[in-house]
Symmetry: C2
Subunit: 365 residues, 2 copies
């Protein structure tokens, strides 16, 4: 029995678990947009497959596809990956999928947030986003998970990261952006986040990374390794485009405490070089009046922080960059009990995100 | 793990259970075709809802809908009915859904038959049927049920009825029709049915009912109440359009034995009057070059036999016909331990089928 609950997770004793807690499985969406992804999305699909395969070493993966891609996806993906027909406008399950919450008895429910394609009619990344709007509910319907209706609050999964023990990190640039929730003050937004994620302490970073077309998602900047401990991108090179943002984020994270009153242990992961499209690659992307113009002079983010934690594993993006090997070593040190699996994800970066952006964990019930 | 098994149910010890055996749940498809269903399919949708609600008293129901009908279906169907996005060309889950098979350990698998819209390019009911072809596999994928590939044999679920103990009843008119499997002899077709349904005895009726656009599906003629016992439509009126077909079917059924050597107990259920569309109703159906022409001078079948057995219940079609009350009494006598729930299904009849045609049971694993 699935129904929409006229209450909030906080009132009902449900909280958003940390990504490092145990999952039932992972949800992904199959990329097809030819005005986001070059060459008919075929190179991106190959990388999505590698990510899905990497995760499926650790836990069940469900890939959602449009009707006309079912056969192709089924032919390309191994049989242990479940494929279901769920239509979407693009392929970012982190932002379009539900935020799952869980109570002490192990019952799982989902939060259905509002969504406006990262900024609405004027500043959003495409139009329309009608199919994206229904993905959360369709996922809950398949899984028969009850739903909290938070569609009056526009927020994406990539804009929040939690420790599962009462602490949320987010950015002002995204969550307080007038292109999302113009009618909510900072205090009102905090109240909403507290009600729907059941957190007690919100740590506000100012900005996300330079070149982030989502208006500064926190999941490109920092994530919780475990309660009390985070990992963030870092560079000592003052000419690196992300230098200033990361300095500011570090200052805020190092000067605060979490919901339990702990100072955060901060792991600094050296950043790779940022990425741009070649002229030839840019020409392989379809033109569309409403969509983000992927020109060769834009900077696309590359960072190891936009990784994904799954049961016993970490799926870590690499970029054929000299920093890759240092990142792998640093991750193995942070996660001595997890297997680190890498995927070269340059093709996803130039679409506007990375492994974290294209996945959504469903906690174990 | 879902995969296509390079074997057959018979070889692996899987059999098709009787419909009267316990179900995990029921699958249905949401009607939308405006060249099958009058008035934009809205009257039909209302009846499908009544059928889904009736079944959901007894067991879980999943309704499959196209992307653009998810919101509407979700608003109209109660929350205890699961809705999943699965696209189809029309809405006959009996014929388009998988045939589930089960072994003694309770493991369930699915047979993926070929399908050609009840007769192919020349004699089929519409074109294309590309989405229908994938429904079986999509259902198995959602449920993570392994698949037998029988796509080289064209058969519909409505063309077969089994007792779960080795006996199958079918019709020559449909299964041996050159518009289905031109290259298979009767003996070869029997071998296929034996391999994929794990039966030992095939009882062949000659024809299905008059006016059956599917070329004579057995599920309009007869069904197994329990092993050793069937119910069939009957009329003593020699002017009733179904008189001759039913005489012939009775003769064949009464003269044969089942796989266990039993004579069949035959319950005769008096037929209601057959149905036709009014001129006004016919004009509410869209014209399409490839689809069946639903003109006011066509006979559409009405029969109580195209009912559906679910856990502890029978969902029985009625037609606002004087025979309705006799049918209800006869069904209650045949099924003393099941609750009989009726739905007036005239609106489905004029689309070409009835409750059995729009449902598919998934056996309990």
């Amino acid at each position: 029995m699935v129904f929409t609950i006229n209450s909030t997770p906080k009132k009902d004793g449900f909280r958003m678990p940390g990504e490092f807690e145990e999952h039932k499985g992972t949800w992904m969406l199959w990329p097809t947009r030819t005005d986001t992804w070059r060459s008919g999305a075929k190179p991106a699909q190959r990388v999505y497959i590698e990510v899905a395969k990497a995760i499926s070493q650790f836990e069940p993966v469900t890939m959602c596809v449009k009707a006309d891609q079912y056969e192709n996806a089924r032919a390309l993906l191994p049989p242990n990956i479940r494929i279901v027909e769920i239509s979407s406008n693009d392929a970012w399950m982190r932002d379009i999928g539900p935020t799952f919450v869980k109570n002490d008895k192990g019952e799982v429910r989902g939060v259905d947030w509002g969504f406006n394609a990262w900024g609405g009619l004027d500043e959003g990344l495409y139009f329309p986003w009608d199919l994206d709007l229904l993905v959360k509910q369709k996922v809950m319907d398949i899984e028969q998970i009850s739903r909290y209706d938070a569609t009056d609050i526009i927020i994406e999964g990539g804009a929040i990261t939690v420790d599962g023990e009462g602490t949320l990190i987010t950015t002002e640039q995204c969550v307080l952006n007038p292109n999302r929730n113009r009618n909510l003050s900072k205090k009102e937004m905090e109240e909403k986040l507290i009600e729907y994620l059941n957190v007690e302490k919100i740590i506000w970073l100012k900005d996300g990374l330079v070149g982030d077309e989502t208006d500064g998602h926190v999941d490109e900047v920092v994530f919780f390794v475990r309660p009390g401990e985070v990992a963030m991108g870092w560079t000592d090179d003052q000419n690196h485009p992300q230098y200033e943002v990361l300095q500011d984020a570090y200052k805020r994270l190092s000067e605060t405490t979490d919901a339990k009153g702990r100072k955060l242990k901060i792991n600094k992961i050296q950043m790779p070089k940022q990425i741009s499209l070649s002229e030839a690659e840019s020409m392989e992307i379809d033109y569309s009046r409403f969509s983000y113009n992927r020109s060769p002079n834009l900077t696309f983010i590359s960072t190891y922080i936009n990784c994904y934690l799954c049961n016993g594993g970490v799926v870590l993006p690499t970029f054929n960059d000299p920093q890759d090997e240092h990142a792998i070593a640093a991750f193995q040190k942070m996660f001595p009990d997890r297997k680190i699996v890498t995927v070269n994800t340059r093709e996803i970066s130039v679409g506007g995100g990375n492994i974290h952006c294209i996945t959504q964990q469903q906690p174990l019930g």
